[in-house]
Amino acid sequence: MPKRLNPLHVYRFLPQTNCGKCGEKSCMAFASRLIEREVPVEKCTPLFEDPKYAKKREELLKLIRPPVKEVKFGVPPNEIKIGGKDVVYRHEWTWRFQTPIMIDLHDEMSEDELKKRIDFVNNFAYIRIGKELRLDGIAIRCVSGVPEKFAKIVSKVMEMTDKPFIICSYDPNILEEALIVARDRKPLIYAVNEKNWKEVANLSVKYNCPVVISAPGNPEMLKSLVKTLKDGFNIDDIVLDPGTYANASIIDTISLFSALRYAAIEGEDEFLGYPLLGVPAVVWLDKEKSAEEKAYLESILASSLMARYADLLIMHSIDVWSILPVIIWRDCVYTDPRVPPSVKPGLYEIGKPDEKSPLLVTGNFALTYYLVKDDVEKAKLNAWLIVIDTEGTSVQSAVAGKKFTSDKIAEAIEEYKLVEKVKHKTVILPGYAARLSGELEDMLKDWRVFVGPRDSSDIKKFIDKVWIPEVFGSKSE
């Protein structure tokens, strides 16, 4: 279970001047929001700027440090924050800092291929509930083994995108060549391992960049390397790569990630309390499967690791269909489980509806509502929309769960006085509520009940077909 802090404990380490620079009225108010992880501690600027608070700051940072450390890479405004987890199960509180998805490329790809991949990362956008879902950055791999060649590609990537990136090689010389070029962009270094730890740890210190520790399939080595970097080099900006295995070993990968996260949070193991890196791109090492099959399996592996504790992912596929489930799943699993995804039930006006405008009904699951609203707006229709209280569930499950019923619809039509608002006395049900139509017709007597499409994107087509001016009255009347 999550360890919750007391605001009083936190308050002790704040300036206690109630200066208001953080936007809160008092230091106590800031403390309360801080323990809820609702504000970043950096908002208390005096604490970070005034040297007299240095000791308090140190203590406070130690106190509020989550069991999985927050690690940053890249530079503002495109800086990425990963980790920062307080709980194993999201229902216990919430998961913070969405897992970034980094797309890989390497230094032996053709110019065209590089451009295609970087453009894809820059331009991918999927709009969902008014939010833009985007990819986060690039993982640059050294395949050539030539330091200068790698550095060249790194600087090329820097020119083509402002997004953060990871530089990937186990060779310290190659990494250093890239760091000379890229240090100002604060890349994540991949990776320290059993063999190169001294040199790569030094690079992390010298160039002040966070570093991944890689020990595939060997949690003991992983933990030993963390301790060595912490104690020997004072490095604390660490990401862990426990190894991602494909095929039948997917389940062992999931098991290992679960064990590490469990040990960090429930076991309070300070040497494992760092973000985890998953590499679904390993699926592409397979020489036999088709590209489509690999993109399919990579997507499944990525969604699995998204659910099972990966705080950062490196993927290879740039097929929209393969990325889409992962990026949507990320958006879902990182929502706050304490907030119901619902809108207020009621009568909504879309555009400027009048007595001849269609009357639609839907449920109050936020996603359902926004989809219907967007689609009606896109179709440039004016419409009345009754939103029934389905306790934040979709129409389909609300019909099955008896939360979207004829009774509720009939009551709403009465309550919102729709007889006065529309003359046509016609109500359009969502397609998934088709089985209510008979019952509702009996209840509403002189009303017509239409069964609309299942998907609101078909509303326009549906209205164009059924909304005949002769029946519903035209504007010229």
Binding site: R183, G217, S224, A281, W284, C332, P337, L367
Partner: protein, 428 residues
């Protein structure tokens, strides 16, 4: 003297112009300004690079610049800050032990058997056993669960299915028995979920007698175990299940489903008497799930004949609520909540309600792969939260779940013994 110096400099410059790369060491340049001229590469998109290292005589350490040169000009790509000394503080790796976490679980999920062979009083070719875990899913460091998860293929009693599913079944979709046969013979299903959706009074209100015939046809057509789904109408389903339980007596069918608004006692009685299993369907609510399981058990159904369906929302359409409710149910069961110690199931075919699964928009990629991936992703999320049984529409999605099940069936090797291929420097 001046002449000799000029000549030496000229020689050096000649040397530079003839070579690709030069390195000057132990050279002291005493100058206020140093100009390096060069011929830029011809192709503007491929600028030339060279590294410039300067080391002050004070011994403060070398600083390096990368210089980029193109026909458009020259720029320094990195401005060095004061270099940090490169002295490793330690020389030996500090070794620490890692132990896999011990878990507080005391409970165990009941095992449910689906189907009955001839020797068990039925006519099925095999049985399927699910459940039995004593830990969270894929906590393989704690246990390898005794039974891997199972996945059925859906068959409906009317030709209702999304386009990509219709495409793989072709005409078979018009006849439930044929649909089931193709699912088993062509797509390797080892379990069929037959949904009598047309019996819904709101759809076709197909009478019980016709539904019985349809079920008998499917039982004839395939020898795999069967899940039978009703209409979703509480009164109709009690009637339907009562009759079907009798005619399929001994086959250990799974009836799908009982809900809180049904007459639970009346529904459970024939299912129990004829030796069948039952799915209890709750709607993303742990208290409802508990209540329903308790009532079903109180009506006489033993724990090893009950399966809980907490409802699966499609990916993007509420799946996170299903995911968290399933995790809560499973955790609660493992921590000792007896009524929840039953296997869980998921109608992952709900995934097809998602616009992203069905959309014809070519920008989202081909529907024939996007659709099954959506269903498979939805199922895998439910699987990671503890689901034991899946009802699925698309054969490809069903096989993805089976891939996880097959992996569980294989003997475990520690990861340290599996070769880890170097993905970093591989060309793909």
């Amino acid at each position: 003297m001046e002449e000799r110096r000029k000549k030496a400099l000229k020689d050096i410059l000649n040397m530079i112009s003839e070579s690709e790369e030069i390195e000057l060491t132990d050279v002291i340049i005493d100058a206020d300004e140093l100009t390096i001229s060069f011929v830029p590469p011809q192709a503007p998109q491929m600028p030339g690079y060279f590294k410039l290292s300067l080391e002050p005589l004070t011994g403060a350490g070398k600083v390096e610049f990368l210089v980029e040169a193109s026909p458009y000009g020259v720029r320094l790509l990195s401005i060095p800050t004061a270099p940090t000394p490169e002295k490793p503080k330690i020389v030996e790796l500090i070794k620490v032990k890692f132990e896999f976490p011990t878990l507080p679980f005391t409970g165990k999920i009941a095992e449910v058997t689906i189907g009955a062979t001839k020797s068990e009083g039925g006519t099925r070719s095999h049985t399927i056993k699910i459940g039995g875990s004593a830990s969270m899913p894929f906590f393989l460091f704690a246990e390898t669960p005794p039974n891997p998860m199972a996945a059925s293929l859906d068959v409906f009693d009317m030709p209702a299915a999304p386009r990509p599913v219709k495409d793989v079944y072709g005409d078979a979709i018009n006849d439930p028995a044929e649909w089931a046969r193709v699912a088993v013979q062509k797509f390797g299903a080892n379990l069929i979920s037959f949904h009598l959706i047309s019996t819904d009074p709101g759809i076709k209100d197909t009478p019980v007698s016709e539904a019985v015939k349809a079920v008998e046809n499917v039982l004839q057509a395939v020898k795999v175990p069967l899940i039978i789904g009703g209409s979703g109408n509480p009164e109709k389903d009690t009637k339907l299940f009562t009759k079907l339980a009798e005619v399929t007596s001994g086959e250990r069918v799974v009836f799908n489903s009982v809900t809180l608004d049904m007459d639970i006692e009346k529904t459970v009685k024939p299912i129990k008497e004829h030796g069948h299993d039952l799915i209890a369907l709750a709607f993303i609510d742990i208290n409802q799930a508990k209540d329903l399981c308790r009532k079903s058990m109180e009506a006489g159904l033993p724990k090893n004949r009950l399966i809980l369906d907490p409802t699966t929302g499609a990916l993007g359409y509420g799946i996170e609520y299903s995911f968290s409710i399933m995790e809560r149910i499973r955790l609660s069961a493992l921590l000792g909540e007896e009524v929840l110690q039953v296997p869980m199931c998921s109608a992952s075919s709900n995934a097809w309600a998602a616009r992203e699964a069905r959309s014809k928009d070519p920008a989202l990629g081909p529907r024939k792969i996007r659709g099954p991936l959506w269903e498979a992703s939805t199922a895998i999320i439910a699987l990671l939260a503890g689901t034991d049984l899946f009802m699925m529409l698309h054969p490809k999605a069903m096989h993805t779940v089976r891939m996880f099940a097959e992996a569980l069936r294989k003997a475990r090797k520690p990861l340290s013994e599996i070769r880890y291929e170097n993905w970093v420097s591989s060309k793909f």
